[in-house]
Symmetry: C2
Subunit: 136 residues, 2 copies
Amino acid sequence: MLRRRGYRLTTQRRAVLDVIARSRDHLTPGEIHQQVVRRHPGVGLVSVYRTLALLADMGLICEVHVGGNCRSYLLRRPLGHHHHLVCSDCGRVVDFSDCDLGQLEKRLAEDTGYEIEGHLLEFAGRCPDCRAATFT
Amino acid sequence: MLRRRGYRLTTQRRAVLDVIARSRDHLTPGEIHQQVVRRHPGVGLVSVYRTLALLADMGLICEVHVGGNCRSYLLRRPLGHHHHLVCSDCGRVVDFSDCDLGQLEKRLAEDTGYEIEGHLLEFAGRCPDCRAATFT
DNA sequence: GTATCTGCAAAAACTTTGCAATGTA
DNA sequence: TACATTGCAAAGTTTTTGCAGATAC
């Protein structure tokens, strides 16, 4: 990972990034810390918070809002503009990038006079695995 | 307000609802409490939390995620399905209901195997007033 | 009159900050 | 070696809970 942006590559940061990258789910700071500690006892929750702030600033991770905690993070897999489809059972996230909101955005701008800067779009649903689990 | 759903209509609840209904902005529990206290000193923050939980359960208010705090509430003006366009300067919210995501939703369902249950869509932008304020 | 609500105070959860010690580059 | 980064502990916030007294119906 290209952390040569002036920041040092420490064990802690590597560990946090590793946990986030490994997970297909979105994780809260607490959950991330728990997982980090498994392999690296002694790493403080504080470092997790600090690392998350850093990664968020750099745009390497992003938040998930649908389904509970708004401070759940996720690796920004496609690095550019994209959205999430979140499983309401297991939390598993699938990314997609073609949202095609241009028309709506344009009409809204005209109707309201707002100068639109961006949007937040997330879908909630049940992933194939969780659906299958229902029909035991 | 039709609170005859088995719940009692108390001064506190009326006050909280009043503040939310009055505001065109989205407010955090703390902000709501501050405003409630102005007219009704002695009302506890606890009651605000409890009332918010109640109103949220009943679907009378909804959250705003764009721009900071994810626990900002807003009166559910059009009572059905709708979305928000939030001013990134003053927080003022405009509602709209035609989001036209059916196609995208269908394609996502096919591509991913998810059974889609719902979506969260919010736009961020600058409202006419705030835009005007820039060109002093 | 009674079951629902409220406020207080205290607890629990979550997040940020100060500082000496540590580890990367 | 030097300075960014860490962990601890402590302080701030935010949210929840227990309980006795108040109040809507």
